[in-house]
Structures are given as structure tokens and as C-alpha cells.
């Protein structure tokens, strides 16, 4: 499963987020990998899930992209809950 952490420039925020997403994927035993990318490139990049701050996810909507919004980029708890909900269907 391919995850893409997205931010404006694709080097700061999205990298931090990808570190924690990869940590969570491992914890949840999800076979997947998260890379990070800037918003402009992400628009044409194919991934199973796009993850990032609500402002950035709003700009990625459309084309059937599955997006996951995260408010606290460094909260493993929030990221875990969001991935459980969106990917595993756990409420």
C-alpha cells in the first residue's frame, strides 16, 4: 500500500509526517510505505492514500483521491487513529 505525505514544499513538514506514518504502519502491521512529496507533484502522483494537513488535503481533493487529514503532524496517536479509521475501517 502506497502512502504519500504531502506538504507545500515536500521537504519539511511532509518528511516529519512520513516518519510518523511509517512508524504507525509498522505498529499496525500494515504492509505499506510512506514517501513525502510537494503538493504540485503529488497532484499527478498515484498513491493509495494521501496524508497531510487539512489545508493541503483540501487542495488535493478530486479525481477520487483518498485523503487523510492530520492536524498534529507529530502526534503518533492522532496519525494512528486516522489510519485505523481510513485504512482499516476502525471507528
Amino acid at each position: 500500500m502506497k502512502f504519500l505525505a504531502v506538504c507545500g514544499n515536500g521537504l519539511g513538514t511532509s518528511f516529519m509526517l512520513s516518519l510518523n506514518v511509517n512508524k504507525v504502519l509498522k505498529e499496525l502491521n500494515i504492509d505499506g510505505d510512506c514517501k513525502n512529496m510537494d503538493l504540485a507533484s503529488a497532484k499527478t502522483e498515484v498513491a493509495d492514500y494521501y496524508i497531510g494537513s487539512p489545508e493541503i488535503m483540501d487542495q488535493l481533493q478530486g479525481g477520487g483521491k483518498k485523503t487523510i487529514s492530520i492536524v498534529n503532524m507529530v502526534s503518533v496517536a492522532e496519525i494512528k487513529q486516522a489510519i485505523e479509521k481510513h485504512v482499516l475501517g476502525v471507528e
Binding site: C7, G8, G12, T13, F15, L19, L39, N72, M73, V74
Partner: protein, 147 residues
């Protein structure tokens, strides 16, 4: 390491700043003085928020203004500013801790970011940093030694 890179001249304590644009400017000043960034990098960081929204507010209280290496970074650098009063980005996002990041290529800042991520994952440390009053406080929280 974060604690060795954040020397005292790169850390500021400010009572209050009335806009996020000014806050980014003031927070980045030590890097400008040091020659790590050019003026246009500050403009790029502000433009970045105007274009993409305040996603640089990574978590409640904490912002990490940054732009791209080609926007005017001369050397890898980071500066820190703590304001007593929170700075408003929009109705939902405010920050009083500013880590300004200047990355001079896509890779060599990653270790630094990893360290910041680890630090920010510890809510107690973030809470303590948001009320830090001096450089010694900061250094203690970052796990460094006073030279």
C-alpha cells in the same frame, strides 16, 4: 545535533508580535544576520503560507516556517523564537514556538528534522518550551550542555 546547532544567538524570546508575517520575519532574523539565508528566503516563507495555508503550524503552539533551498538558503540553519503571547495564523491555528528551518539541499536537513520530530513528540517538553524564558531553559529541554 539540535542543541549544538541552536547556539544562543539563534534563540530569541519575544513578548508579543501582532502578525504571523512579522513573526516569521523576526524569527528568521538571526539566520539572516548569520548569513545562512538571503532576504528573499523570508519572503518565500511568507509566500508559502499565503499560497498553501498555515500547514507550517505542525501542532498546537508550534510553527516551522520554511521554504525551498533555491529560495535563498546559503547554508543549513535553524533558529528558534518563543513568544509570550500566541501569534494568530487563522481562527484555528496559533503558535508561540517558531522553529525556522533553512535547508540547503533536499537531504542534509533530514537528521535535524528527525530530531525536531522526536522533540515535538514529547508534549511535556513542548509545553515547557512554550513558557521558556531564557537560553538555559531551552538548552536543558534539548538535552544540551551549557558551554
Amino acid at each position: 545535533m539540535l542543541s549544538t546547532r541552536l547556539t544562543s544567538e539563534l534563540v530569541q524570546f519575544v513578548p508579543e508580535i501582532d502578525s504571523w508575517e512579522k513573526a516569521i520575519k523576526v524569527a528568521a532574523e538571526p539566520l539572516l544576520k548569520k548569513g545562512a539565508i538571503e532576504d528573499k528566503y523570508i519572503e518565500a516563507m511568507i509566500h508559502n503560507v499565503n499560497e498553501f495555508g498555515p500547514y507550517i503550524v505542525l501542532m498546537p503552539k508550534v510553527a516551522m516556517p520554511h521554504a525551498r533551498p533555491e529560495d535563498g538558503v546559503k547554508q543549513l540553519g535553524i533558529s528558534l523564537m518563543v513568544t509570550e503571547k500566541s501569534v494568530l495564523f487563522n481562527e484555528e491555528k496559533t503558535a508561540n514556538i517558531f522553529f525556522v528551518l533553512a535547508a540547503n539541499d533536499a537531504n542534509n536537513h533530514l537528521v535535524l528534522l528527525q530530531e525536531i520530530t522526536e522533540f515535538l513528540s514529547d508534549q511535556e517538553k513542548v509545553d515547557a518550551l512554550s513558557v521558556a524564558k531564557n537560553y538555559e531553559d531551552v538548552l536543558k529541554l534539548l538535552g544540551g550542555d551549557l558551554l
